[in-house]
């Protein structure tokens, strides 16, 4: 997202300040905007889903098989969407545990959280994600 913004606004870069400063300013502004957007609209809506993500939802509901490899990118996007409604700590634990495939011991070491806290946060995050997933599935039906 930051790269895209840089690309779009490259003509506005005057050269008066070093490129690093300009890029970091864009990154900070992008993050602040994202936080503000999440605060103002914490709920995830079905309209936010792309066609590919909707197809993933349909597949998940239709079969109990693993998703096809060509749907992995759309699945990732859907997961990212679900993650936006979580707290930063919950988002981090889901990312490390499920998307990066790290163990609880590794997460414990990385975050300095206790193993129990990692598990509790993962459980709470999963509950929230499940709730959202159910809500989307209902709307789809």
């Amino acid at each position: 997202m930051i790269f895209v913004k840089m690309f779009q606004n490259l003509s506005q870069f005057s050269g008066a300040v070093p490129l690093e400063h300009w890029v970091s300013r864009i990154a900070i502004n992008t993050c602040l905007n994202q936080i503000a957007a999440e605060k103002s609209r914490p709920e995830f809506r079905q309209a936010d889903l792309s066609e590919e993500e909707l197809a993933v939802m349909e597949n998940l509901a239709a079969t109990s098989d693993e998703l096809a490899p060509d749907q992995s990118f759309a699945s990732r996007q859907l997961v990212e969407h679900l993650l936006t409604a979580l707290k930063p700590a919950e988002r981090l634990v889901i990312d490390l545990l499920y998307l990066q495939g790290r163990s609880v011991a590794e997460i414990k070491q990385l975050t300095s959280w206790s193993a129990a806290l990692v598990k509790v946060r993962a459980f709470r995050a999963r509950q929230k994600m499940k709730k959202q997933l159910t809500a989307i599935s209902r709307k789809e039906k």
């Binding site: 790269f3 490259l10 998940l60 997961v79 998307l99 999963r126 997933l133």
Partner: protein
């Protein structure tokens, strides 16, 4: 015990994990070309002060080289002139000394 939604979420997470985040890390098409073009354009305009300093440094280096060469030449020349005179003075001095001693 895992319910259906749990299993669905697990399948989704597994599929999402397969994708990684390589796609997000790719820079947009032509981005590097535009950066280089902009850098070249800005380099040709340049900052006035930096260009002035650059020129001053170049001129100063040239002056140092010329002054150094001139100084070396002068020293060499003065040595060449000084050496025979010193010898003549020494010869005259020894002649006077020998005459006085006689």
């Amino acid at each position: 015990m895992m319910d259906d939604v749990d299993l669905t979420l697990d399948r989704l997470l597994r599929a999402g994990a397969q994708a990684g985040d390589e796609a997000e890390r790719e820079i947009p098409f032509g981005f590097d070309t535009r950066v280089v073009a902009l850098w070249r354009a800005s380099a040709s305009n340049g900052n006035g002060l930096a260009r002035l300093l650059q020129r001053v440094a170049l001129v100063a280096s040239a002056v140092i080289v010329v002054a150094g060469a001139a100084a070396f030449r002068e020293i060499k020349k003065s040595r060449e002139i000084g050496e025979p005179l010193t010898n003549e003075f020494a010869i005259a001095d020894s002649a006077i000394q020998s005459e006085i001693s006689q």
